[in-house]
């Protein structure tokens, strides 16, 4: 009985921390899919790219993986802006975006993944950081550092972006562009430019999420595919366009996955995400806090 309770507590806490990491991984898609209606299914591939950038920074230059990701932020941002520009010119402008845009991002997903395989190989890679091992002990609760740091990073990212969206001019414009582009044009704003900035931000989050990922677990290029289902399940469950909803969904998924993993076996974990997605779409398609 006592063992079970301890196991349960640890599973819930791990799930909570994992949820914070899942929030970091999903926030990019919460912006691109939730606010801009762009199905960027390639987002996990760019998270992996971020992981490898963090790895290079760590193994070649000896810097902290998160710091490496921060240094790479501007490059990711510009890459996102370039990707949106291509997407806009090729698809959005001609209203072709639903099917062809999706194929476009699928193609990018594979190109990036294969590129990473060719450069880094298929073996697992990991980083060395002071928080790689060991736990933070709070009474009888053990918080593994390798889960706690990504959790804190995820929470910081969500909080930072939420403040940006609600307090800055561009942030408000991004919220508005999801709703009424014609009205924005009549206010001398350029919706395309606003969406480009937002998409750039979405890519920038991938850099930090990648650093978080390689801290939590060793990575290899194809694990991005495990995250496609999780990310979209979280965004749909949380409600498109709501950051708080996304965080709640991320934590919920983390806890349910962790409990499933602990009591039914780790191989069931991926099924949880898709099960949650199906359930949400059947019962409450607008999500927890969706508009």
């Amino acid at each position: 009985m006592d063992v079970s309770l301890g196991l349960l507590t640890n599973a819930v806490i791990s799930g909570l921390l994992l949820g914070g990491f899942y929030a970091a991984v999903s926030i990019g898609v919460a912006i691109s899919f939730g606010m801009l209606d762009i199905v960027n299914i390639a987002h996990p591939a760019f998270i992996l790219l971020g992981s490898y950038v963090a790895f290079i920074g760590n193994s070649v230059f000896g810097i902290d993986p998160i710091l490496a990701a921060v240094i790479a932020l501007p490059a990711f941002y510009l890459l996102g802006m370039a990707a949106y520009q291509v997407y806009y010119v090729a698809f959005e402008r001609r209203d072709d975006q639903s099917l062809r845009g999706l194929s476009f991002f699928f193609g990018i997903l594979f190109i990036v993944e294969v590129g990473l395989i060719l450069i880094f190989g298929v073996d697992y890679t990991s980083v060395q950081a002071w928080y790689g091992g060991g736990n933070l002990s709070l009474g009888f609760i053990e918080l593994p550092w390798r889960l706690l740091v990504p959790f804190l990073l995820g929470m910081a990212m969500v909080a930072g972006l939420q403040v940006f969206l609600s307090r800055t001019f561009i942030g408000r414009a991004i919220q508005a562009v999801a709703q009424d582009q014609q009205a924005l044009r009549l206010m001398a704003a350029n919706p395309t430019r606003i969406k480009r900035i937002a998409f750039g931000l979405s890519f920038a989050t991938a850099a930090l999420a990648g650093a978080a990922m390689i801290i939590i677990q060793p990575v290899e290029p194809s694990i991005g595919r495990e995250y496609i289902g999780r990310i979209f399940a979280i965004c749909v469950l949380g409600g498109l366009g709501s950051f708080p909803g996304m965080v709640i969904a991320a934590v919920t998924l983390g806890i349910v996955e962790s409990l499933t993993s602990t009591f039914f076996g780790p191989s069931w974990a991926p099924a949880v995400a898709f099960g949650v997605l199906l359930l949400t779409l059947a019962v409450r398609p607008s999500g927890i806090l969706g508009r």
Partner: protein, 248 residues
């Protein structure tokens, strides 16, 4: 026209516009003088909204549009707004998830911050009812208040000419009167108004001149104090054209 007459603020000549292959407006000409209130009336489908969209640059057009002496050929909505010609679309569409204040800040996109805050306050001063709700999300406002917010958004730019597309749509009579009264105050403060409306009597009461648009052409043009106007409008609406032949 006497040579001493001041040049009109907005001058539209030979304007044609449509949606793809569907031509909606044919060879439309109208003018709005500085500080004048002009009503644009017409039955549904006449092309009134299309006309406003063509003038503000949302739709491609052929023909000439001159505003404040400047040729607006090739100007998009952004350039038009910056020149002082503001278009408030129909349906009191505001950004529902943002607060009233944020909606107004957005309306001044690109303006330097101190100037923007001042102009937002001026716009709010015109509509005390929504000024009281400045931090509430726009979705909590009633239809009439949202319409006032939409007009206030237009005011943030201190326009020389404000084009209003059916501000009364979907509003109860009391609210319509309130919105139109605000419009009259605006006109008294010096802003020219081009008002597209379905409520003929109220529009005429608030305007100096009137145009009637039917099937894509101007069929009537008069001052609102002229005699027999309701009759002439009826003829214009129901097919007895005053000037244009039946469309070929």
């Amino acid at each position: 026209m006497p040579t001493s007459a001041p040049e009109p603020l907005l001058e539209v000549a030979g304007l044609s516009a449509g949606y793809g292959k569907i031509v909606v407006l044919r060879d439309v000409a109208l003018t709005v003088g500085a500080g004048e209130a002009v009503a644009l009336l017409g039955p549904n489908g006449a092309g009134k909204t299309t006309l406003l969209r063509a003038v503000s640059g949302l739709l491609p057009r052929t023909g000439q549009v001159k505003f404040a002496g400047r040729d607006m050929a090739g100007a998009g909505p952004g350039d038009t707004v910056r020149a002082g010609l503001v278009h408030v679309v129909e349906g009191h569409r505001v950004f529902t998830q943002l607060s009233v204040f944020d909606n107004l800040l957005l309306a001044g996109y690109g303006l330097p911050r101190p100037e923007l805050t001042r102009q937002v306050e001026e716009a709010l001063a015109f509509f005390p009812e929504i000024a009281a709700k400045r931090n509430d999300r726009a979705v909590t406002l009633s239809g009439g208040q949202q319409q006032m917010l939409a007009v206030a958004q237009g005011l943030v730019r201190r326009p020389k000419l404000l084009m209003l597309d059916e501000p009364s749509a979907g509003l109860s009579p009391v609210l319509v009167d309130r919105v139109l009264a605000a419009m009259v105050r605006l006109r008294e403060a010096g802003t020219a108004i081009l008002l597209v409306e379905q409520l003929i009597e109220k529009a005429l009461a608030a305007s100096d001149r009137v145009y009637a648009l039917a099937r894509g052409s101007i069929v009537l043009q008069a001052r609102t104090d002229e005699a027999d106007l309701p009759n002439r409008l009826e003829h214009a609406y129901f097919g007895q054209d005053v000037s244009a032949p039946l469309a070929s």
